[in-house]
């Protein structure tokens, strides 16, 4: 007798679809707030005070004082020109004797190339604001990123972050290493 009586039923078939849509919406929005930032590698602690001797011409000094003012190579610097200055320093296109020396190295996929021995030395005061520090770091990263891009386009025809082959990436990184050194903290630009 059961089958004879017809009970009108609400079609709940689409309920699942609605719920799935909600689920997908959540999955998408949750992963949206990705953490981004500037990645750096800290140097291992130096045990003795002995510092590695660097030739003065190989060092590009960037100082930020407590008033968030920039000093680049002994002169007052500017955030807007920092990137370009970093690039000309590191690449040393005119083989200037005051700019870093270059060493001939053999690198896979690249052959014999001149690798700059320049190092960017970034020093900041304890009173420097974090925002300014990030801005300087950002400009330096941009300089290196652009140098890598230029080299990558010249050698492989695509930008550095578009390279798929890890070997090519390594080759570029070997020619243009991220040579940013952060000095041991000290107070600069402060009256003692």
């Amino acid at each position: 007798m059961r089958t004879k009586r017809e009970i009108p039923e609400i079609n709940a078939g689409s309920m699942a679809d609605i719920a799935f849509l909600l689920l997908i919406f959540f999955l998408v929005t949750v992963t949206m707030d990705v953490d981004t930032g500037i990645t750096r590698k800290l140097p291992p602690p130096v045990l003795d005070e002995q510092s590695i001797d660097f030739n003065q011409r190989n060092i590009f000094e960037v100082l930020v004082n407590s008033a968030n003012m920039l000093m680049v190579e002994g002169k007052e610097g500017n955030l807007a020109t920092l990137k370009q200055e970093t690039k000309t320093f590191f690449l040393n296109p005119s083989n200037d004797v005051n700019l870093p020396e270059k060493k001939l190295e053999q690198i896979e996929l690249m052959g014999d190339v001149y690798v700059s021995r320049g190092v960017i030395s970034l020093k900041n005061d304890r009173g420097t604001s974090y925002e300014m520090y990030i801005k300087v770091q950002n400009e330096l990263t941009r300089a290196f990123q652009e140098m890598r891009d230029e080299l990558s386009v010249e050698k492989f025809g695509v930008k550095f972050d578009k390279l798929v082959d890890p070997k090519k990436q390594e080759a570029i990184q070997a020619v243009i290493p991220l040579a940013i050194s952060e000095a041991e903290p000290e107070d600069i630009g402060k009256t003692k």
Partner: protein, 154 residues
């Protein structure tokens, strides 16, 4: 052939899909709950600095966070404080924090552990430098200065 035509005689009842939405809703609830669970409640104010050359932090499970900023509650003063997990900490606690974070990960993943420094943009570098020195001592060399991506710097 007759099997298909005669509905009544076949004992095959329709499988009810009425419970399917419920199952999906349970899944949904699970996701909603589990995603908010890992977040720590911030007790310091953080307005991240902006940068253009940012990289995405891959594998969030291998990232430990250090928060620096002014306490949200006025009673704790306006001096920048460090927050580890859910409480205020001092620079001296960093090494122990790194050790516990490392302990919590698989042996193979410990090398890949990244420390993300989430600092307010008005923080003085002194406290950040202190933390960096402690991280160096603790052997946590991979760090990330957390910053928001913008197309152009102001």
């Amino acid at each position: 052939m007759g099997r298909f035509k005669e509905k009544k005689s076949s004992g095959m009842p329709k499988i009810s899909t009425a419970s399917l939405p419920d199952i999906v809703f349970i899944l949904l609830c699970f996701f909603m709950v589990s995603t908010t669970m890992r977040e720590t409640t911030l007790i310091v104010k953080i307005r991240l600095p902006e940068a253009t050359e940012v990289q995405k932090l891959e594998r969030k499970s291998l990232v430990s966070f250090i928060y620096i900023g002014q306490p949200v509650k006025g009673t704790y003063g306006t001096e920048s404080r460090i927050q580890l997990n859910d409480q205020f900490a001092t620079v001296a606690d960093i090494q122990a924090f790194v050790a516990t974070e490392r302990e919590a990960r698989d042996e193979a993943d410990r090398r890949l552990l990244t420390t993300s420094i989430k600092a307010d943009r008005d923080t003085r570098m002194g406290i950040v430098s202190d933390i960096k020195q402690e991280l160096r001592k603790a052997g946590a060399f991979k760090i990330n200065y957390s910053s928001r991506k913008t197309a152009r710097l102001k």
